[in-house]
């Protein structure tokens, strides 16, 4: 084997790669925030007595969970592009990831809602709380605890999935890596270092989630 590793070009671009990791983290975090809000609404819609709402939410969940995430990104890029609706790469990735997160989280949330006893709602209502008050103050906080770990997993998944951004021309961590790698042909070196950066990001997220859970869930 006469391949010689050259790590220096990679290290020279390390500041750019770290900068790009921030972009990765940003889009992942935003897509999670949107995903949690939409996921909650979808979970409620799936349990709603209104048929079209249930139907809409079920379609969303089915598509998000049973088609490749890459295709979901392509939909927001090339799919809508075909109808003259164009988004910047950043938004293609943000919308794609949010769509996917919402679909997966909706199922987790639905399980969470079913795990909170009906009697909690009754008790809240008996105190004069409205349905929205009861959900926001009593039910949802309990659901969030039940789904905390699946939610952490989804956050990790969102970070890793954002690497698909390079397929739609988004210069997040993978896109940036691809860009430099193809300029220098140090493909292995670049992606090896980037893999380590992803690994570090995920470890930081898991650590932070653990710390936050100790602070959040004192009961």
């Amino acid at each position: 084997m006469d391949y010689h590793f050259h790590w220096r070009p990679v290290f020279q671009k390390l500041p750019e790669l770290l900068q790009a990791s921030l972009t990765t983290l940003e889009v992942a975090v935003l897509s999670m925030i949107i995903g949690i809000i939409l996921g909650l609404l979808l979970a409620l819609a799936r349990m709603s007595p209104i048929k079209p709402l249930r139907w809409f939410a079920t379609c969303w969940v089915e598509l998000a969970r049973n088609t490749p995430a890459l295709f979901q990104l392509f939909f927001f890029g090339f799919g809508l592009g075909a109808f003259g609706i164009h988004f910047a790469p950043y938004f293609i990735v943000l919308f794609g990831l949010s769509f996917n997160n919402a679909g997966y989280l909706a199922e987790n949330f639905r399980g969470g809602f079913q795990a909170v006893p009906d009697t909690q709602l009754r008790a809240a209502r008996s105190l004069g709380m409205t349905i929205p008050q009861a959900y926001i103050r009593i039910i949802i906080p309990q659901v969030l605890r039940i789904v905390y770990h699946p939610m952490t997993n989804q956050m990790v998944w969102a970070v890793l999935m954002s690497s698909l951004g390079m397929m739609v021309g988004f210069r997040e961590l993978s896109g940036e890596t691809q860009f430099f790698a193809s300029k220098t042909f140090r493909i292995f070196e670049y992606f090896a270092v980037t893999a380590l950066i992803y690994y570090a990001i995920v470890k930081i997220i898991l650590g932070a989630a653990k710390l936050a859970s100790i602070r959040l869930f004192r009961y």
Binding site: P117, A123, S126, G128, M129, R137, I138, P141, Y219
Partner: protein, 240 residues
Amino acid sequence: MIEIKGLHKYFGDLHVLKGIDLNVAKGEVLSVIGSSGSGKSTLLYCINGLEEIQKGAVIVDGVDVHAKGTDVNKLRQNLGMVFQQWNSFPHLTALENVALAPQIVKKHSKTDALEIAAKQLKHVGLGDKLNVYPNSLSGGQQQRLAIARALAMEPEYMLFDEATSALDPELVGEVLETMRMLAEEGMTMICVTHEMGFARDVSDRVAYFHQGIMEEIGPPEQIFGEAQSEHTRKFLANVR
């Protein structure tokens, strides 16, 4: 005053309450006894509108609970309820459990709500448990917490749905003691209960429910001494 007029309640095809007529005056303590499935718990849920009714009416202080346009949320503030499964909110401390509704329903400031909550918790003997989460309270303490939570809304009526049935026997006493205290303070109470001692000693009247019908109602001496109805006598003979 709570007026129940010709109340019918169905769960699907199941006819749970078959025409109940009953008035409960301010300051009265009414115990409702009867075997499981006789409709006595359902009656409570119909009074505060947690269950819909199919026929008849429930009128609380002149307000028809089930009429369209009735603000049930406002009405329920005046009808405290305590459940068999105490239903404390697990994610909130004892203090927060009690303070939440005064704050978000009655719109008290947070400081006022916490003050009301602390006062009510002391009232039921949980003054030293303010910052404890429900999972480290015993069943009896959680049930007293539930009573404090209902009292914090300053209701004029309290509905107890088998408040001691799910408790370990050694914890029943403290909850009954709290209920007895409320009765002595003049609270209007409807207590669905299996505690015959409580029904006899504390109530002004006792109602016996049998298969969705109120078989008999009267002062405790009558029900426990010279019950008119065959069913009542049979039931009491079995529970003693």
